[in-house]
Each structure stands twice: as structure tokens, then as C-alpha cells.
């Protein structure tokens, strides 16, 4: 059986998620064993998005750029499984604050999360997500590990996410146990713990969604952890 084909499409983002992807270092070789990288402008000379099995979309599509929207549409059309890789595609992250009036062109002002434009199969929030997430998602896709992927398709992980989710879904529902995982996950240190509860400094929050995703009370991958524990008991 031939290997699944992989594409990496880059829209409006800072490249941090792409660097995080590459920061798998020697694990990249394992990833290349799992999928054939057909399209990734950073490491391959291919100019057209080919038909692939899985695509990572990094970044948001600017509504004032026909080219960006077309690229996103094409990525969706040409891929069986579309992953919103990183905050800018999952939640729009810092693009949420765009007002236009800047480079590359002053009229570029709207960058919604890509799920408003195309169907997203899995969202990986974080700005950037840890390198391990790229490896894990590709592994799960290749092995058909739906137990792993199912949590990434929940609506809460993509969309308009920020520290507010911790209130709306976790603290407000009496779920928070004050563990500190959200504050740890925050890339901008917007979250401090006050009286054992997260306190979000909105001036610092870039709405990447990592805090909510990392919270053990948003979802708990019980079956996968049990499997992990079985492995850890053996080796």
C-alpha cells in the first residue's frame, strides 16, 4: 500500500507553527516514513496544491485577498482530511485584532478562523502547538486512531477561542480544580492563577485556544491515557 500523501498550506500566520512542525527534529524522519510530503513550500519545490490524503492548513485566509480564499478552498477540495494546524487557522488568534491599514496591503483586515469558510476535520489550537502535536496527529491519521482524533473535531477547540472559554465552559460550570495547566499552556503568559483560578489578562491574550485545549476538564482522553499507562507499565 502506498503511503498517504501530505500537504502543508501556509496562509496568514507568522510561521511559528511551521517552525514548530519542523522542530520535531529527528522525529521528522518518522513523519516522512508515515506520509509522503507532496507540498510544503518551505521544504519542497511544488507550486500547486496536489490531491492529498491529509492537509495541514496553517494560518487564516484573508477575506480581502481572493488568492488566499481560493488557496484555502483548493486545499479543502484536494484533501480528504483537513487539519487546522495552529491557532491562526483554528481560532484566527492574533489575526482577530487586525484592523487593516497595514502591510502587505492596507485593505487586508478580515481573517476569520478557517472553519467559517471550509469544513475542518480537526483543529489543533496553540500558538504554536507543541511539535509533538504534529507528529501525533499524523500518526493518528495514518493509523486510523479515531480515539485520538475525535477530541480535535469538537467545536470547542476551534472557533473564537480565548481565556474566556475557561470561564464560560470550565469555571462557570464548576469544573475547574485549579491545577494550573491553562496558565502553563498560555504562550503569552496572559493567565495567572488567582485563588486557584485562572485570571486572564486580555491585553496579553492572543486568543489561541491553547488554555482551553490543555485544560484536563475540557476533555479527558481517558481511553488513550489508559493505553499510555499500559505502555508505561511495560517499558
Amino acid at each position: 500500500m502506498s503511503k498517504p500523501k501530505f500537504a502543508y498550506v501556509h496562509l496568514a500566520a507568522c510561521s511559528g507553527c511551521e517552525i514548530s512542525f519542523l522542530d520535531n527534529f529527528e522525529r521528522l524522519l518518522d513523519m516522512m516514513d508515515m506520509v509522503d510530503i507532496e507540498y510544503m513550500t518551505l521544504i519542497k519545490d511544488a507550486t500547486d496544491i496536489p490531491k492529498v490524503d491529509i492537509v495541514f492548513v496553517d494560518g487564516a485566509a484573508c477575506l480581502q485577498s481572493e488568492d488566499a480564499v481560493e488557496t484555502l478552498k483548493k486545499a479543502r477540495e484536494n484533501a480528504t482530511y483537513l487539519v487546522a494546524w495552529g491557532g491562526c487557522s483554528s481560532t484566527a488568534t492574533i489575526n482577530n485584532f487586525s484592523r487593516g491599514g497595514q502591510l502587505p496591503q492596507p485593505q487586508h483586515e478580515s481573517f476569520p478562523p478557517i472553519k467559517r469558510l471550509v469544513k475542518v476535520d480537526a483543529s489543533v489550537p496553540g500558538s504554536p502547538p507543541g511539535p509533538g502535536m504534529a507528529y501525533n496527529v499524523i500518526r493518528a491519521f495514518v493509523e486510523g486512531d479515531l480515539d485520538y482524533l475525535k477530541y480535535l473535531s469538537s467545536y470547542s477547540l476551534g472557533g473564537f477561542a480565548c481565556g474566556c472559554d475557561l470561564w464560560k465552559d470550565i469555571v462557570d460550570n464548576g469544573l475547574c480544580i485549579g491545577c494550573g495547566a491553562c496558565a502553563m499552556a498560555c504562550p503569552t503568559r496572559a493567565i495567572t492563577m488567582v485563588e486557584g483560578r485562572p485570571n486572564n489578562v486580555f491585553e496579553r491574550c492572543v486568543k489561541c485556544g491553547a488554555c482551553y485545549a490543555q485544560c484536563p476538564r475540557s476533555f479527558l482522553p481517558t481511553a488513550a491515557i489508559e493505553k499510555l499507562m499500559d505502555r508505561l507499565m511495560e517499558d
Binding site: S20, G126, P129, M133, G174, G180, P216, L220, A224
Partner: protein
């Protein structure tokens, strides 16, 4: 015999620190403190993220310990919320530790394992975790709750308290006066999130330690992962830890509590779902 509510483990036993200095300052047998000290001495870890009492009475502080003295500061339980996972970032990024020990409550161990599988915002941390020790926990309090229990119900100033214990249905303090409050009364003040937590004995840790089930001055210890089991054997072999068999009676008492916690979780999850509230996806196990 197989017990309910303990999770998977290779071995369960009673243990305590062989070092009297540690035993004197510890909550019970000082096993956790002794294991950390031994891990640091032998290079198994190069630091640990822990909880200690802060300058404010019975308000927990979270910190990164890299010396024996710093580890000793974490001895004894503080029955209040301690978001110590936050410090893992400091340990790995700012202090550049590559073999970190972590001691947390069952819910924090859950968060650690989730992090290992889904490192959304846990870059480098996963690879740096060398030893995960989970302590037993039935419920936890806000610092203000402790005040309400000790000063309000027990009429003892918090600063006079040297040790707190939750055992056999009683919340006790040791110190100037020493108070006893029935847990039924004290439990009003727990944080609500604990009511849906199904894990008493840190089922997903490398090593779990607590007091219920063992004689006074001893810890009940579960050796779960291979890493935790092998390290514990090493510590015992080197004379850092003393062990003895745990009684069936002790395990039955612990089982009763573990099952009670799971029952409580089940009940409260159902209650909340009935109210139409969101409950953590796939939490019950």
C-alpha cells in the same frame, strides 16, 4: 484479591522514609519527600515542581526545587488549591531542567498525562518529565475555606496550626489547640470541581502515595509504571526507604474511600447533566 478503585499497579505496600529528619517534618511517613531527595542525589531528576506553605498562613506556594533543602520545604500537606503545573514551564524553560520531578493531586496527574498525549501548549515539558508522583486526594479547599473551617468552625487561629489531616471522617489540626471538625461539616467548603473527580489514588501516576490504609507514620504506596517501580526499588535498595507489607484491612478501608469517591463522581456527573450543564467529556472511568 482484586480491589476496586485503585487503577492499575504493579505493587502496593506500606513505606516510610528511613531518614528520621524527614519523618519528623513529614505529613505521614515522608515517603514522597524521601523519594524526591533520593532522586535528586542520584541524578534521576535535576529538580522538581512542588508545593509548600507560603508566607501567608496555609496558603500554598508553588516552586521549583533544585536542592535537598528546597525539597524539604515541601514536606507536609497543605489542603488548599495549588496550581503548580504552571511552574513546569519555569522548570523547563527558565531553569533549563531536563529531568523534572512533579508531585501533584490526581487531577493534576490527569492533566500531566493529557499533556503527554496532547501537548497543545506543553512544548519540551513532556520530554522533561522524569518522575510523576501523585498523592491521594478526596477533596480540596480554597485557602479561605481552610480559614472558615479552622477559625470559624474550630475557633483556632490558623497560625497556631502545624499540621492538618483529613482522615476517618474528621478534619483535624495539630498545634496549639488541635481541633476536630467532622468532614461532613468541612466538606461544605470544598471546591465544586472535586465532586465530579473519580480518582482518589492518582491512578495515572508513576508512584502514588497517601496515608489511608497504612499505620500512623507510614504511607500507602502504589507502584504503577515500570519507571516508578524500578526507581522505588532502587531507593529501597539504597536504604532511603523502609517498606513493610500492607494489611488487607488497610486496603479495604482505602477501597471503601476510593469507591465512595467514584460513586460521588457518578452521582454528581448525572446531576449536572440533568441540569443541562457541560461536564468534562469522557471524564468517568
Amino acid at each position: 484479591m482484586a480491589y476496586q478503585g485503585f487503577g492499575k499497579y504493579k505493587e502496593v505496600l506500606s513505606a516510610r522514609s528511613a531518614d528520621e529528619e524527614i519523618r519528623n517534618i513529614a505529613q505521614d511517613g515522608g515517603t514522597t519527600t524521601a523519594l524526591l531527595c533520593f532522586a535528586l542525589e542520584t541524578g534521576f531528576i535535576d529538580g522538581a515542581v512542588l508545593t509548600k506553605k507560603s508566607s501567608r498562613e496555609w496558603v500554598p506556594a508553588q516552586y521549583v526545587a533544585t536542592t535537598r533543602d528546597e525539597i524539604l520545604q515541601s514536606a507536609k500537606s497543605v489542603y488548599a488549591l495549588s496550581p503548580s503545573l504552571y511552574r513546569l514551564k519555569e522548570a523547563t524553560r527558565e531553569r533549563a531542567l531536563s529531568k523534572v520531578g512533579y508531585v501533584g493531586l490526581p487531577c493534576q496527574i490527569e492533566a500531566v498525562r493529557k499533556m503527554q498525549l496532547y501537548p497543545f501548549g506543553a512544548r519540551d515539558i513532556v520530554e522533561s518529565l522524569a518522575l510523576v508522583i501523585g498523592i491521594f486526594c478526596f477533596e480540596n479547599f480554597y485557602p479561605e475555606s481552610l480559614k472558615a473551617i479552622v477559625e470559624g468552625l474550630g475557633e483556632e487561629p490558623l497560625e497556631d496550626v502545624v499540621r492538618m489531616r483529613c482522615a476517618s471522617g474528621k478534619f483535624r489540626t495539630e498545634g496549639e489547640k488541635g481541633i476536630i471538625v467532622p468532614l461532613k461539616q468541612a466538606s461544605r467548603y470544598i471546591q465544586d470541581g472535586d465532586r465530579i473527580c473519580p480518582d482518589l489514588v492518582s491512578e495515572w501516576a508513576d508512584i502514588s502515595a497517601g496515608s489511608v490504609g497504612s499505620d500512623p507514620g507510614w504511607n500507602t504506596v502504589f507502584l504503577r509504571t515500570k519507571k516508578g517501580h524500578d526507581f522505588f526499588q532502587q531507593a529501597t535498595g539504597a536504604g532511603a526507604i523502609e517498606t513493610k507489607e500492607i494489611s488487607e484491612e488497610g486496603l479495604k478501608a482505602l477501597e471503601k474511600l476510593a469507591v465512595a469517591k467514584k460513586d460521588r463522581a457518578k452521582k454528581h456527573i448525572a446531576k449536572r447533566e440533568e441540569l443541562g450543564l457541560y461536564v468534562t467529556r469522557d471524564i468517568y472511568y
